[in-house]
């Protein structure tokens, strides 16, 4: 039966992997067991059960498949309503000596009318009276029990002591009586007087059916109920001495819940396998929970049976019947009232103490086969009835394991197997080896290998997920899982084996070998084997776990250092890795980016980045958006084939899913070589805002006392011991002649030192050192330049592992999404000057789209902003005021190359004011014109990514990093400073005086998760209201840029 959840293709094998078993006792009709089942749209023809032991006379068996575990019980009372001729009148009269009728006894309390014996009843005589009801027939009910009660009086002046009374049912011509009760001769009414109680129909020895009850409570029935008076003692009862004022039937009933059928038998319950055909079985519904209830029909302490249940602590019990994963077979102990479950038994600690709870430890009734139509065994069956442990050691039988058939091509990365140390507390002395082979005899190809070391488990039996040394791509074929160990005989391993006991099929019991073994893992095709021989009776509860497919479209492109205007670097040599997002959705856990130097001989891969789902992020968003990574840590290729990093680096990415499985590598980008920069660089993949270009002025080594010398007594010469740890190198690194762009030109370096983070120092000579720096000492030169120097200490071989490291932003889709700042006087230039800045990746659509606008540029009214035009790659710097329109359109393909760029626009306002447009940090306008626009005021929100407050002409940005508004014209130098800051040049700052500033790279602006709380950081407290339109997707992790602002 293997795959319990065929809709979960990532697992092949048995999801039900029990670790222990317990005995189920069937010893009282008042207690039984119920197992939740989800048999699908089937009719249950029969249920096969295995009982490992039956003690005493047969305890009987009741099997029911119910839709409601605990239906409400109620009691209905029926009185006589039909006279039955002589059965009613012979020997009886009413209180007025007229003929007896039902009307005299059709109540429980009225003693004013009654029937009495019309003649004496001798001491050996038995006198009957019978009635039938006249009630409406019961419908839709199941009968729990039938009780007959009466109100009786005995009185005469004589030696009569008492009279025996029995209640009676006449069923199908046979009379069935209750135990005799004695009524004393005292003239009192004994009321209400319970006489008979039948849980089982005495005519059938099975629970009453609704039809059987209707037969005596309705006028149209053929059966009857009544009393039998007998054995007065010690003298006959005289005429009229015995009176009956009331007679009734109480029926304990519930709504019919046995939707899936039932089986009752007071005699059957054989040992071992037995088939029980189901009566009144109906078609069950798909995606619906039912309960299989079993209890002994007549069992007791001397005649009982035992079954078996299995426990799998890892089985998940979903509450919803529609859930397609997890187990739907929760076992509970139940108590019954006359065959109807009234409570789950909280005192039976071995199973769950409440019904249908999700996420609980799974308990499964062993030895249950659900048989549908045409003898088909349904997938919710469990043919296993015993757990064995098999020792695996050097002296174990060879070629032992389990065959398993892969239904189709799949990529498996691990195996889950129940394993333990063979002897408690004795650690095996060799590993356990699991090989997937293509032949049962130990030959064939080895397609995968997994190894469990002794310390991988704590010794107790447990499910262990063991990764294969390398994922293997299974075809639609049969494989053989070989399990072996060369551990010594007293220090071996155990694995678990499930036994169906298919050899214990009794002749005539109805169950066949095919019923049992055909239900096991892979039917008889897949089975446990040892000595290269398949033993189809057994299976090992193992499963293969699929690994996700590797991400596609992986590229790694080396980018040279970027030198900006004024010889200020803004990006070190780096490798841009990007890949196509995988489609794991909610089961996405992380991407892992790997690299290694391209060398012969090869070296171990090193983890560069783990792109994980952080708090507040959703797996799907991270999976879809975080598909790029900039690695600034690789050493530079100083000279081809020479030096540590001459051949460059190999890169690849993998993906990990919620099963803990990692894909194989993506396409490996090999020999990616980084062009050396003329300057040294301190970089950090995890904290890229700390990157700083440096010039190493001198390299200084220092003896760290790694050589120890000793003089052993009696030896002629010294003995030396060298420490194997390599001494860390020390550098003095200097920042020389840096342009003074701010009040502190080395704030990146100081922030890096203060952060205490690990940095990678790459030098033009091809050296690559990993360590950290002390706080730099600065020198101010007369020429407004800053020199500084710090000590760099090597601390490690590998740089730290980073998460997503590109600036955070919002991805605008170009069809509905935008970021807006509600209208405010702070962003209203009226007829005065202003500057607008935006940083993003722009799309040159060849159509009119709003990049950053305030007002409705495409419609009526005042407005201003930057937009694209119908001409491809054209930017339109645009003002439209009360007096006129001042604008200039320029074609700038560079702005639309897919990289992040800064666009800025300033307008001086007033009469003949100058309008300038800028791209990036050049300081030279790409657009320039003059004109009088007049007042530009409008009340529309400032929008990035759209026109008219973000309601039209949307422009895609993937992503938008930020925007700023200044109520003045920034000088070209200020534009340069702003662009450098936004493009992450070291030592740059935004100019002061903005009245709107949204920097999505910065933690202070937002948390990178919620688009609800985006903060304008132009003032404290924020004065503007920032919002988004149509929920843009977040990308990236905002950085703690306040670290830089400390300096």
């Amino acid at each position: 039966m293997g795959d319990f959840n065929p809709s979960s293709p990532t697992l092949l094998g048995q999801e039900w992997q029990p670790l222990s078993e317990l005995a189920l006792q069937f010893s009282s009709p008042a207690s039984g067991w119920a197992q939740r089942i989800r048999p699908g749209a089937n009719t249950l023809a029969a249920i096969h059960r295995y009982h490992q032991e039956v003690v005493g006379s047969a305890p009987g068996i009741a099997l029911e498949v119910v839709d409601t575990l605990m239906p409400a019980l109620s009691t209905s009372t029926f009185f006589p309503g039909t006279d039955l001729g002589s059965l009613t009148t012979t020997g009886w009269q009413d209180q007025a000596a007229a003929a007896a009728t039902f009307a005299r006894v059709d109540d429980k309390t009225d003693t004013s009318d009654y029937v009495r014996n019309s003649t004496a009843i001798g001491i050996t005589e038995q006198r009957n009276i019978r009635f039938r009801g006249a009630a409406a027939a019961l419908a839709g009910k199941r009968i729990a029990a039938v009780f007959v009660g009466a109100m009786v009086r005995v009185f005469q002046f004589s030696d009569l002591v008492d009279v025996g009374v029995e209640s009676a049912l006449t069923l199908g011509g046979g009379n069935y009586y209750s135990p005799l009760r004695r009524i004393p001769n005292d003239g009192r009414w004994y009321t209400p007087f319970l006489l008979g109680a039948w849980r089982l129909n005495p005519a059938t020895d099975k629970p009453f059916t609704q039809a059987e009850v209707n037969n005596f409570i309705t006028a149209a029935g053929t059966d009857s109920f009544g009393l039998r008076i007998s054995y007065p003692r010690p003298t006959p009862a005289a005429a009229t001495a015995v009176s009956v004022a009331g007679l009734w039937v109480d029926v304990l009933l519930a709504a019919e819940n046995r939707i899936g059928g039932f089986y009752y038998d007071t005699k059957k319950m054989l040992r071992y396998w037995q088939r029980f055909p189901m009566s009144s079985a109906g078609l069950l519904a798909a995606n619906t929970h039912y309960w299989l209830v079993e209890y002994p029909l007549v069992g007791g302490t001397a005649n009982y049976a035992r079954g078996v249940a299995h426990t799998d602590p890892s089985a998940v019990e979903p509450a919803s019947a529609a859930a397609t994963t997890g187990e739907h077979r929760e076992l509970v102990a139940v108590t019954l009232n006359n065959g109807v479950v009234t409570a789950v038994a909280p005192d039976r600690r071995t199973v769950q103490d409440s019904a249908v709870t999700s996420g609980t430890i799974g308990q499964l009734m062993g030895g249950v086969l659900l048989e549908g139509g045409a003898g088909a065994i349904l997938s919710q069956s469990d043919p296993y009835v015993q757990l064995d442990r098999r020792k695996i050691a050097s002296d174990s039988i060879a070629n032992l394991g389990q065959s398993i058939t892969s239904p189709g091509a799949n990529n498996y990365g691990a195996i889950v197997i129940p394993v333990a140390w063979n002897r408690a507390g004795v650690r095996p002395d060799r590993e356990l080896v699991i090989e997937i082979r293509t032949a049962i005899n130990g030959g064939g190809a080895v397609v995968a290998t997994a190894t469990i070391q002794p310390d991988d488990i704590d010794g107790t039996l447990q499910r262990k997920q063991v990764p294969f040394a390398a994922n293997f791509a299974a075809a639609a074929a049969q494989y053989f899982v070989h399990i072996r160990s060369s551990a010594s005989t007293l220090r071996g391993w155990d694995i678990l084996r499930q036994d169906t006991h298919s050899e214990l099929i009794d002749s005539g019991a109805g169950t066949t070998l095919a019923n049992i073994e055909g239900a096991t893992q892979g039917g008889t095709t897949d089975a446990y084997f040892e000595g290269a021989t398949a033993l189809t009776r057994y299976d090992i509860p193992l499963e293969l776990v699929a690994a996700p497919a590797a991400p596609a479209g992986f590229t790694a492109v080396a980018l040279p250092a970027v030198v900006g205007a004024g010889s200020v670097n803004n990006a070190p040599p780096r490798v841009l890795c990007s890949w196509t997002a995988t489609a794991l959705g909610a089961s996405f856990v992380k991407y892992r980016l790997w690299s290694r130097p391209s060398r012969t001989p090869a070296v171990q891969p090193q983890l560069r980045a783990e792109i994980v789902v952080n708090a507040g992020q959703t797996p799907a968003t991270v999976e879809a958006q975080h598909t790029r990574f900039l690695d600034k840590s690789p050493g530079w290729t100083r000279q081809q084939g020479v030096g540590q990093w001459g051949d460059g680096w190999d890169f690849w990415v993998t993906v990990v899913n919620a099963n803990g499985m990692e894909s194989g590598p993506s396409t490996i980008a090999t020999r990616v070589q980084l062009t050396p920069d003329l300057d040294s660089w301190l970089t950090n993949n995890a904290a890229p805002w700390l990157d700083a270009p440096v010039w190493a002025q001198e390299l200084q080594g220092e003896d760290q006392g790694t050589l120890n010398t000793y003089t052993p007594l009696g030896r002629d010469f010294l003995v030396t011991r060298t420490r194997s740890e390599l001494p860390g190198r020390l550098y003095k690194v200097g920042w020389d002649s840096m342009q003074a762009v701010a009040e502190d030109g080395i704030r990146h370096q100081r922030a890096a030192a203060a952060s205490g983070r690990q940095l990678v120092l790459n030098t033009p000579a091809g050296d690559r050192v990993i360590g950290s720096i002390s706080a730099p000492r600065a020198q101010q030169t007369p020429a407004d330049f800053v020199d500084s120097e710090a000590t760099f200490a090597e601390t490690a071989r590998q740089p730290e592992v980073a998460d997503y490291n590109l600036p955070a932003g919002l991805v605008l889709n170009g069809t509905s999404q935008a970021l807006t700042i509600a209208h405010n006087a702070l962003i209203d230039p009226l007829a005065g000057p202003f500057t607008l800045i935006i940083v993003a990746t722009f799309a040159g659509a060849g159509s009119t789209k709003g990049i950053i606008t305030k007002g409705n540029l495409a419609g009526a009214g005042n407005g201003f902003g930057i937009r694209t035009n119908a001409v491809a790659n054209q930017l339109d710097f645009y003002t439209k005021g009360a007096t006129g329109t001042v604008r200039q359109a320029v074609t700038a393909a560079a702005a639309f190359d897919g990289n992040v760029h800064v666009l800025a626009m300033s307008y001086a306002g007033g009469a003949g004011g100058e309008l300038l447009g800028y791209l990036d940090a050049s300081g030279t306008p790409i657009a320039s014109t003059t004109g009088t626009a007049g007042s530009l005021t409008n009340t529309v929100a400032l929008a990035a990514g759209g026109d008219n407050g973000g309601t039209a002409a949307w422009s895609a940005m993937a992503p938008l990093h930020g925007l700023a508004y200044y109520p003045r014209v920034l000088t070209p130098a200020e534009i340069v400073a702003a662009a450098r800051d936004l493009l992450f040049y070291p030592n740059a700052r935004m100019p002061g005086g903005s009245t709107a500033f949204v920097d999505l790279r910065d933690q202070r602006t937002w948390n990178g998760v919620s688009t609800l709380n985006i903060v304008d950081t132009s003032s404290v407290p924020p004065a503007l209201t920032v919002a988004t339109v149509a929920n843009p997707t977040p990308r990236g992790l905002p950085w703690p840029l306040q670290d830089l602002d400390k300096f």
Binding site: V426, E610, G714, E725, S772, T795, A796, E800, D803
Partner: protein
């Protein structure tokens, strides 16, 4: 002593590495989880961490020591940079250090114990944080807890070493393969710790009987020290285990360098051969002068033990240095008086184990006659190892003398070992000198 053969090299080859004139000393520190599974390395960034530690934990100094005369025998002292995995993770991890030695291209390594992580002492300054911590080995698991209410019960006929195994399991350690079976069994039921509230079960409390253990006989309770309602807890698992060890003449409980709990019979040095010889030799490794002193507090030349209560058969066992080590400088025949010790209520439940117990007591007392301290290059000694020391030309040690290792301190960065050993006087000339 740890076996020398390892990493595919024979004992002779490893000896050559340990005694070579040049070599490299290294170390590594495995990070284990509570179940002794390796989950990382203290000196390497955790492979699964994300984002990784800005500064992976780096051990800057480490030493391991053992001392059989203190309750927690093994300890590891670490000085290290912070490791984010170990913040607020006291007792959630264990650390298994190794020392590595390399000579002529051959590297061998020796495990140096498994120690439970604890709250470090932090030296904090802006931008700098350094941790110093002393960690105990697996005995801490036994010392930090004891039996729950109900006590720890043993029954008549249970092997004493089986009871030790139950204690070790109860304390959470899994591997009991270091427990050497003794064959001795309890003569009657016995309970340690707080049994049950006496007002419920009517257990009689006898004031003054407060050693922390007691015993009762088949349900008819006589006395349980731990029943004193004024005592919070009198027994830890280690106390109980040590008491059983003592009763069957075993060494005190200690954990070996793989972290496995050890229950071993006391080394009868009158029959021992030394595992290694230290001192002056052309290939020796002893690097300091040898200082000789004494261990006066532990001296003893006579011991006796007897049964006292319950249904344990009456017996009386004694040991006399005059008999088991005739001619020993501390024997009554030499010093003309006895230094007696008595063990009236031990768990020695038979004459056989009582004789082992008293013999151990006398041997321990005699070995306290003289103690030497000296430093060597790395050698993997273990508690109770019998070693010999020989100093050419010395008045007393010109011929190899036997010593029993009581303590050692291993510096994992320099490889130096400081030894403390008590001198024993074997009845025959020691063999196996190197």
């Amino acid at each position: 002593m740890q076996a020398l053969q390892r990493q595919g090299y024979t004992a002779d080859e490893v000896t050559a590495i340990l005694k070579a004139g040049t070599g490299t000393i290294g170390n590594r520190f495995e990070l284990l989880d509570q179940a002794f599974r390796v989950v990382g390395d203290l000196n390497a960034a955790p492979p699964g961490a994300s984002p990784a530690a800005s500064s992976p934990g780096t051990v800057t100094a480490a030493s391991v020591d053992y001392d059989v005369d203190r309750p927690l025998v093994g300890a590891l002292e670490l000085r290290m940079l912070p490791d984010p995995r170990l913040r607020d993770a006291a007792m959630q991890y264990r650390i298994k250090p190794y020392i590595q030695l390399t000579n002529a291209g051959r590297t061998v390594e020796f495990p140096m114990g498994v120690y439970l992580w604890d709250v470090p002492e932090r030296d904090i300054a802006p931008g700098i944080e350094e941790w110093t911590v002393t960690l105990a080995d697996g005995l801490f698991d036994l010392e930090s807890d004891g039996p729950p209410v109900g006590g720890f019960n043993v029954w008549k006929g249970e092997l004493q070493t089986d009871a030790i195994a139950r204690i070790v399991q109860a304390a959470g350690l899994v591997d009991t393969s270091g427990i050497r079976a003794s064959g001795a069994a309890f003569a009657g039921p016995r309970v340690w710790g707080l049994t049950r509230p006496r007002q419920v079960f009517g257990i009689t409390y006898i004031p003054g009987f407060e050693e922390g253990w007691g015993f009762y006989s088949d349900g008819a309770t006589i006395s349980v020290g731990g029943d004193n309602p004024n005592q919070t807890r009198t027994n830890t698992w280690r106390d109980i285990a040590a008491s059983i060890h003592n009763g069957i003449g075993y060494q005190v409980p200690w954990c070996d360098f793989d972290g496995i709990y050890q229950a071993r019979p006391y080394v009868d040095w009158t029959k021992a051969t030394p595992a290694v010889q230290f001192g002056t030799a052309s290939d020796g490794i002893t690097v300091s002068p040898i200082r000789s002193s004494n261990d006066v507090a532990r001296r003893c030349n006579y011991a006796a033990a007897w049964s006292e209560a319950g249904d344990v058969a009456i017996f009386f066992a004694e040991a006399d240095a005059n008999v088991i080590a005739p001619g020993h400088p501390l024997s009554q025949a030499k010093i003309r008086h006895y230094m007696r010790r008595f063990e009236p209520r031990s768990t020695a439940d038979s004459m056989t184990t009582a004789e082992l117990l008293v013999r151990k007591m006398v041997l321990e007392g005699l070995a306290a006659y003289r103690r030497v301290s000296f430093t060597t290059l790395f050698w993997p000694v273990e508690p109770y190892d019998v070693v010999s020391v020989m100093v050419a030309g010395d008045t007393e040690y010109a011929t190899p003398q036997l010593f029993q290792s009581r303590g050692a301190r291993f510096d994992l960065f320099t490889g130096l070992v400081q030894h403390d050993a008590n001198q024993v006087f074997a009845s025959s000339t020691p063999a196996g000198t190197t």
